[in-house]
């Protein structure tokens, strides 16, 4: 499950994430991080689900971090799509591909929501959710 974390001014400077990783033993993957002097935003992939995921999230929330589960990232408007493939190779995680008819396939579970495909699409057929 991918989680979007928002750090406020109060919890910046504390090793919150490392503490929770050590405590739960869940090896997370940081997909994107933007740390500003006053705020922080992070997209992480937590390779677990169910109770373990719930525990991980609640530990973060208890430490004052806002947690949002990311299930849907982008949407392709098939009516607008011209099946060119311009979005496919720039995708850094291979979440976009083409089938044998050259139609675009989207693997939601791989997507990290970086948005490269959104601006790369020449006909504006992809939008961020």
């Amino acid at each position: 499950m991918k989680l979007k974390l928002n750090y406020s001014r109060e919890n910046i400077g504390k090793p919150i994430l490392s503490d929770i990783i050590l405590r739960t033993g869940i090896p997370i993957n940081i997909l994107e991080a933007k740390i500003e002097p006053n705020t922080g935003e992070m997209l992480i992939d937590v390779p677990t689900e169910g109770e373990r995921l719930k525990e991980f999230s609640s530990l973060l929330q208890r430490a004052g971090v806002t947690v949002k589960e990311i299930t849907r990232t982008i949407e392709i408007d098939r009516g607008k799509c011209i099946t060119c493939g311009a979005c496919v190779s720039p995708c850094p995680v291979k979440a976009l591909a083409q089938d044998e008819n050259w139609d675009i396939i989207f693997y939601e579970e791989k997507c990290i929501g970086c948005g490269i495909c959104v601006y790369t699409c020449p006909v504006n057929a992809i939008r961020m959710l």
Partner: protein
């Protein structure tokens, strides 16, 4: 050797007779390739009358001639805009040319001439605005109204360069993401993009230019158009042949004509083109039977902002279309910018038209030349280079220098950048006044603790614009100028450029 265009196997008249009687054997290039594999070239050439092709890609050298009709009182439009996109008005009173890459003066990159053409073809209302200076015969000075394609007398697609035989593929060897007319290119050869439909490519299927020429009837944007002649930059000797085409926008269809935007590059038009290849001789048949595996192109490094970009690898369309290309032992994802799906659809539609007797072939008035000029533009006036603008009085630091003394030097000399060199004068790093402020805040004492090691540099003979673009990309205001062994020769800063290059009144 027989003359180009020799009708040895069949004449145009014979083909059209067979189309009329419903007996013509028509195949898409994909199917023709299979037929040749099964029964051999000679037999296939004897059996098949016409091979159809298709491509659907971004073609920037496209646009439309439009005639609006005369208003009452009439106007000699001096400037005009369609949905805020400026059209060329150096023509008669109410004629204009709307280019695909012209961009909206209000929406910029998001909307351009290509989009206006798509909207016209879709039947949408377009805002027309025009200005004039007023003459005795044309007193009106302005117009603000809306038009649809039905209101226009003529809306003629006329594209000076379309349907490249094949095109270079693109990758990016730099360490940053770049946005080009070849799409988004990830750093460190992160991906490869390509364009063109390979074995379906209209011009590659007539490689010797035996059948394409002035007047050749073609599928254009969903309607029937024709070839006017060779396109600009036509260079068939390098397999970069192009054609100039025209067609009536009123017949066209927005599935095969789409406005598009390449991020941070600009607007363009996706154009659908299909050319029927009459199998008039065996040379034509051999060319129509070429497979993706036999059609090669160079993968160029678009990270090099020069007209001569280095080739990283030569690859076939079959490798490019497989979705994976090997570069330096690594497997890189490749994807197309033109639509392989729509290309196929166009070839299939064209085949359908011919089989139904709705499309006939014709002998061109004159074949497209099999040789073309493709010269670079040599600049005659002397342009300032880095060496003409850079500061040579160097203030250079050593890695072991003390931060406080360096700060004093920067203030005394009035500079913001301090390159750090080793004993031989070779560049090791750079310090800016911002780094110094940070050092004071973090209580660092020596230069090597705070200097940037990965330095963006310039060479003496580079053009100023190239270096300015590099500084913009890295969001910096100065670069050390180094020679080929990385020895520091000077500094070039934004300050130098504004002082020495931009003349003040």
């Amino acid at each position: 050797m027989s003359k180009r265009g020799a009708e040895e196997l069949r004449t145009y008249e014979e083909i059209n007779q067979k189309i009329k009687s419903g007996d013509a054997i028509v195949m898409t290039a994909d199917d023709f390739i299979k037929t040749v594999e099964d029964s051999g070239l000679k037999r296939a050439a004897k059996e098949v009358d016409v091979v159809t092709t298709g491509t659907f890609g971004a073609m920037c050298s496209s646009g439309a001639f439009i005639n609006f009709g005369h208003s009452e009182p009439p106007i000699k439009m001096f400037k005009c805009w369609l949905n805020d996109v400026p059209a060329y008005k150096g023509l008669a009173a109410v004629d204009c040319y709307l280019g695909a890459t012209a961009m909206s003066e209000t929406k910029g990159f998001d909307y351009g001439g290509g989009h206006v053409i798509e909207d016209l073809v879709s039947g949408k209302e377009i805002e027309l605005r025009a200005e004039a200076y007023g003459t005795d015969c044309y007193p009106r000075r302005s117009i603000e109204t809306t038009v649809t394609i039905d209101d226009l007398n003529q809306a003629m697609l006329l594209n000076p360069r379309n349907a490249y035989e094949r095109y270079n593929a693109a990758t990016n060897g730099t360490d940053r993401i770049i946005h080009t007319y070849m799409g988004t290119l990830l750093p460190h050869y992160g991906n490869v993009t390509y364009s063109g439909s390979g074995q379906l490519s209209p011009l590659y299927k007539d490689r010797g230019f035996e059948i394409i020429g002035i007047g050749t009837r073609i599928f254009l944007g969903g309607g029937i158009g024709c070839v006017i002649g060779e396109g600009t930059q036509h260079s068939p000797q390098n397999q970069f042949g192009t054609i100039m085409v025209r067609g009536d926008l009123k017949q066209m269809n927005n599935r095969y004509l789409r406005g598009a935007t390449y991020y941070k590059y600009g607007t363009t038009l996706y154009v659908g083109i299909g050319i029927p290849i009459p199998i008039i001789n065996e040379k034509v048949a051999a060319s129509a039977a070429l497979k993706d595996e036999e059609i090669f192109t160079d993968i160029l490094d678009y990270g090099v902002p020069s007209r001569s970009r280095p080739s990283v690898k030569r690859a076939s369309y079959s490798e490019l279309r497989s979705g994976r290309v090997e570069i330096n032992g690594r497997e890189i994802t490749s994807s197309s910018l033109s639509s392989n799906k729509v290309a196929k659809e166009i070839a299939t539609n064209l085949k359908g038209w011919i089989e139904e007797g709705a499309f006939f072939l014709n002998r061109p008035a004159e074949l497209v030349p099999d040789h073309g000029e493709f010269k670079p533009l040599e600049l005659r006036r002397k342009e300032p280079r880095v060496r003409d603008i850079m500061t040579r009085e160097l203030v250079v630091g050593k890695p072991t220098d003390d931060i406080k003394s360096v700060a004093r030097i920067l203030i005394a000399k009035g500079v913001d950048h301090l390159p750090i060199a080793d004993g031989e004068g070779k560049l090791m790093g750079i310090i800016t006044s911002w780094d110094l402020a940070k050092a004071v805040a973090q209580d660092k004492r020596q230069l090597h603790e705070i200097m940037t090691m990965k330095v963006v540099t310039a060479k003496e003979d580079e053009a100023i614009d190239t270096v300015v673009r590099r500084m913009e990309q890295h969001n910096i205001s100065g670069v050390p100028v180094v020679d080929h062994s990385n020895r520091i020769l000077g500094m070039l800063t934004v300050n130098d450029i504004s002082k020495k290059l931009i003349r003040r009144p």
